[in-house]
Amino acid sequence: MAVSLRDVRRKIRSVKNIQKITSAMKMVAAARLRKVQERVTAGKPYAQKMLELVEAVSPFAGEAENELLASPEGASGLCVAVITGEKGLCGSYNNNLIRKAQTYIDVNGGRAVKLITIGKKGTLYFSKRGYNVVNSFPQIGVNSPFGEVQAIADSLTGVFTDGKAAEVHVAYTEFVTTMRQTPKLVKFLPIEPPGSDEDADQDDKKYIFEPEAAELLRALLPKFVRNQVYKFLLESLASEQGARMTAMSNATSSAGDLIDELSLSANKARQWNITKELLEVVSGAEALASK
């Protein structure tokens, strides 16, 4: 027997401590996930109504010039906003997204692509590797006020309206289930004019607009965009918590397996010690008896 009983017991103790931490982290992630999901649900009516409103107004706005609907003249280049988490210990959540974003960036211009990173993990990764990170923000937290979104949204639209990029894409993580999250890359700006398909129901409702539709749309779109950003951030946050929950749940059960294995070898070691002592006693007694 190679392992000493004391070593094995020490190892069991340390694995048990790790297990306590991972199972606590799992519980925290589960509570946070629930909170984020509540926020997502609470925010849905606004997002839905906002979309309806944009769809209702835009057919009447005509060929209105709107800085969010078309790339500024002479603008070129690409900007990608990468939304990652602030912390690790959430399985491959950050890595999956970073890999997806990096592949896309490398194909579409590499170092020339302007990056806006949200979340410490992505910020560190891309700035260390010499990518062109033009701006970075921390990812919002579970209890962050809505106001934090404004600065991020402003930065994303700013790159576009200042003509520094002809297109803005967002890499975020879609929340499918607690067990499954998919990294996604979507075009964010210019906005594809919503509801412009055929203008079929234009006569359905005769709206009174105040101010006129074009101006109304000008006021609406920034809010629409901001809400989109909010959605991306929240969904990524939910994915992160889901990923962490799964990762910590796996870690907890692996720790359990390890403890079982270690207990087995601890017991073996203990039994072997007893057997050895017995042998010594018995052979000692026999030696005396045979004299």
Binding site: R39, Y46, A56, K205, Y207, K223
Partner: protein, 140 residues
């Protein structure tokens, strides 16, 4: 005769603040306040900063401080998409008053060029709306 009612919802990016049946509503349009009764024609209005007054079916009046947003009427439903909306009873009158005084002081100091007057004016309008709603709400 039964009162003509319509449904009204006040929604912010974070939650549905209010949802009820009402007989009339007065909202702070960007180009001036306006009132809406039941069966209004479909309409979309941009809102400014100010006071939203809803008269519920029971005659009770609900006051809210709004900070910008949009107002949509269609099919006898009113939807107020506000950036923020605070019910009168959620606003701390004393705090609102202090904020209002701060905003007034900041603006009245003409020699101070360090402040952004545009922003200060907007802050003043917000503070005014909140204070008004809070103090009106108290007297109801």
């Amino acid at each position: 005769m039964a009162e003509a009612v319509f449904h009204i919802e006040v929604v912010t990016p974070e939650k549905v603040v209010y949802s009820s049946e009402a007989t009339s509503v007065v909202a702070p349009g960007n180009l001036g306040s306006f009132g809406v009764l039941a069966h209004h024609l479909p309409m979309v209005v941009q809102l400014g900063v100010g006071k939203l007054e809803i008269r519920e079916t029971g005659g009770r009046e609900v006051l809210m401080a709004l900070q910008g947003g949009f107002f949509e009427v269609s099919e006898n439903r009113v939807i107020v998409l506000a950036d923020t909306a605070e019910r009168a009873d959620e606003i701390d009158v004393e705090r609102a008053k202090r904020a209002l005084e701060r905003a007034q002081n900041a603006l009245s100091d003409l020699d101070n060029h360090s402040i952004d007057r545009e922003r200060a004016r907007a802050a003043l309008a917000r503070a005014e709306a909140r204070y008004q709603v809070a103090s009106d709400g108290r007297n109801h």
